[in-house]
Amino acid sequence: MDGKLDLEIVTPSGPLISESVDEVVVPGALGEMGILPGHLPIASSLKPGEIVYKSRKNKKSLAVSWGFVEVSREGKVNLLADTAETADAIDVERAKRAKEKAEKELAKISDTSTQEYKKNELKLQRALVRIQVARKSGKSDT
């Protein structure tokens, strides 16, 4: 173990990141999960949230919607995400609009068990994550 993790993030629209990092934090289905070199093989699904990966010099974050992470036996971190965006790529205005829209839709639906409700709940989550990631990276919040 050379104390590094090989992180690879791919999305259906192309490979996004392939680099050697010190630590990865992913939004696992059962809660936030930090992965350090030497981690046991694990497979977990992801919920909408923020991925943070750190290497010696810097710390970067991404917003993901549905995804999946695998730490292989060889210590490689494979991360499959439906969408993953860096803070710069996030359109904050659009995310805010999506958030408001989803909130309005949710307010209209009284039955919380319907498909429609769940769909909008997911939308809201995704929008919130985007806003959060963008804000953290210091993008002006106008």
């Binding site: 690879e8 791919v10 999305t11 259906p12 629209s13 192309g14 490979p15 696992g28 289905a29 059962l30 999960m33 046991l40 093989p41 694990i42 497979a43 977990s44 699904s45 999946f68 695998e70 292989s72 036996r73 494979n78 499959l80």
Partner: protein, 288 residues
């Protein structure tokens, strides 16, 4: 010898054809660029999800998820992908032949082969041959989207889990380059984990949330991705094949124009010579 007028007419008609093939080539080249980018971007994801699935499926009891269970295949589904339009060389013909061979070879082995077609060409071909074809996905190529892959996946998975499909295959063109496309027959279901021996002492995967939940999210995604990739491969191949075919057609048209021009010049010269001979002959006759 054709008359001068007939040759001229012929040339202008060939020129017209050449213009069309040239334009089609250009359009295909533009479409190919887009399709090629799409498939090249989709491949790494498909590859990764395939690796992950075969990694995970190794240490797992097949009984844990219906998509991992195998049974004696009796009814199989085949997804055959071609294009809606022709004028792309042997693209559709080759695939049609391959599909028919596949059906003939496997007719004895299975009780029933259920055909799903994408693209009008193969649909027409197979239904003309008297095969029973499910047309639900035939006309998706006009506006191909990820949703289409999702829809196909839904039918496939429901069929597999509901025991109406015991195996699933795809026959499509794999895109190598604009010049080379290879027809592949791929078995998608049942999912067969790659045989890899796990060394002693290596730990098994930790699954979060649980094996069952995880696989039931991941396996359908895997199938969806594979179908989507096949659709993209085929679409890039189609444009590649059409571009090549149209380029050849343009070349042939040019050759034909050259030949005809030569012929026309010869005919013109001949007629001038003839006229001259007539005049000279007439003058000679007047002298006497």
């Amino acid at each position: 010898m054709a008359t001068l007028r007939a040759i001229r007419k012929r040339i202008s008609s060939v020129k017209g054809t050449e213009q069309i093939t040239k334009a089609m080539k250009m359009v295909s080249a533009a479409k190919l660029r887009r399709a090629q980018a799409a498939i090249e971007n989709a491949r790494p994801y498909a590859k990764k999800i395939h690796d992950v699935v075969s990694d995970l499926a190794q240490g797992v009891e097949p009984s844990i998820h219906p998509l991992l269970r195998t049974r004696e295949p009796k009814r199989i589904g085949v997804l055959v992908i071609t294009s809606d339009r022709g004028l792309c060389g042997g693209f559709n013909t080759n695939l049609n032949k391959k599909a028919e061979n596949f059906i003939k070879e496997n007719k004895e082995r299975y009780e029933e082969i259920i055909l799903y077609t994408v693209g009008k060409k193969v649909y027409r071909f197979l239904s003309k041959q008297g095969y029973n074809v499910d047309p639900s996905f035939t006309e998706i190529l006009g506006s191909l989207s990820y949703q289409d892959a999702k829809n196909i996946t839904k039918v496939v998975i429901e069929g597999y889990i509901g025991n109406s499909l015991d195996a699933f295959f795809m026959i499509y063109h794999e895109f190598k380059s604009a010049l080379v496309q290879r027809i592949v027959v791929e078995d998608l279901l049942p999912i067969r984990p790659e045989e890899k021996t796990i060394a002693e002492g290596e730990s098994d995967y930790i699954f979060e949330p649980g094996k069952r939940e995880l696989l039931s999210e991941l396996l359908p995604k895997y199938i969806e991705t594979e179908i989507w990739r096949a659709l993209l491969e085929s679409s890039a191949s189609e444009h590649g094949a059409r571009m090549t075919a149209m380029e050849n057609a343009t070349k042939n048209a040019n050759e034909m124009i050259d030949n005809l021009t030569l012929k026309m010049n010869r005919a013109r010269q001949e007629s001038i010579t003839k006229e001259l001979l007539d005049i000279v002959g007439g003058a000679e006759a007047l002298k006497d």
